[in-house]
Amino acid sequence: MAMLLLATYASSHSALRAEQGLRAAGLQVELIPVPRQVRSDCGFGLLAEVPDGDLLARSGAQDLWRVTEPAAGQLRRTYEPYL
């Protein structure tokens, strides 16, 4: 089953490189600013709907976070570590 994951990277260069590579591999990704509660060396991460974390992990990600869409009436997504 597909799930929404956020991959964080060690640098913005790595994030941009990963974005290009993952798109070339046919994955739809969105580059977004990393929220405050998510730790990362770079301020941007890649959001993608994937069956598991393999592809994102292989893109050079520092950490993976499981993302939950905002509840009704809320604006922000929530994040928890994806192990």
Binding site: S12, L16, E30, L31, I32, P33, G43, F44, G73, L75
Partner: protein, 207 residues
């Protein structure tokens, strides 16, 4: 012929959705009176303000936790910008809230253009999650590239529009870049309107 009435059930919908639905219905027309049912105080207040702003005759009937608001258009332009109807929170000390954001380029700041574009994409995404949004987002010069087919920010600009932000792109700039036919979100405007909006309240310029 007897007056016609269209009804909208907006119970359970958070602001500004009831106002968005009402605005859409008023824009479509085809009735004399629009009756919107809501079940929370914020939506009730916002619809009353919206109705007045949209030059409607406004009546509200409260019963058992529900309010039926009847809007009867009186003027020529019943579909104004939504953010005008959903009031912004009180301003921070020392200055009012930003009413207009001007994006005068497709990136933020000088230096590396890839970094500039990355920062602006990030800013637009973050605005979609912000408690406070501006009334208007004005796009000028290469800022218009954000609103055309293929833009990375298209989905997020549409989200902002759904939250009531009016997105307006400079027509001269679209034409200059040959992008007029590719505009995919917001409207096209001219310098008179842009200048008017830039002078109407606190403006944040990024570009």
């Amino acid at each position: 012929m007897s007056p016609t009435c269209r009804t909208l059930d907006a119970r359970g919908l958070p602001c500004p959705q009831p106002v968005i639905l009402a605005r859409k219905a008023l824009a479509e027309g085809g009735f004399d009176t629009l009756e919107v049912t809501v079940d929370d105080a914020a939506s009730r207040e916002n619809l009353l303000k919206f109705g007045a702003y949209a030059r409607c005759l406004v009546e509200a009937v409260d019963e058992g936790g529900l309010t039926r608001i009847r809007l009867t258009p009186q003027g020529l332009d019943p579909a104004p910008a939504l953010a005008d109807a959903c009031p912004l929170p009180a301003g921070a000390a020392g200055g009012g809230p930003v009413e207009v954001v001007l994006l005068s380029a497709d990136g933020i700041g000088q230096g590396d253009p890839d970094l500039a574009r990355l920062l602006l994409r990030g800013f637009i995404y973050t605005l979609t999650e912000a408690e406070r949004v501006p009334r208007r987002l004005l796009l000028m010069n290469s800022g218009v590239k954000l609103a055309v087919e293929g833009s990375e920010s298209l989905a997020n600009l549409r989200k902002l529009e759904a939250r009531g932000v009016e997105v307006l792109a400079c027509g001269t700039c679209l034409e200059f870049f040959g992008l007029t036919s590719l505009l995919a979100v917001g409207g096209i405007t001219n310098m008179y309107e842009l200048a008017g909006h830039l002078m109407e309240g606190p403006t944040l310029t990024l570009g």
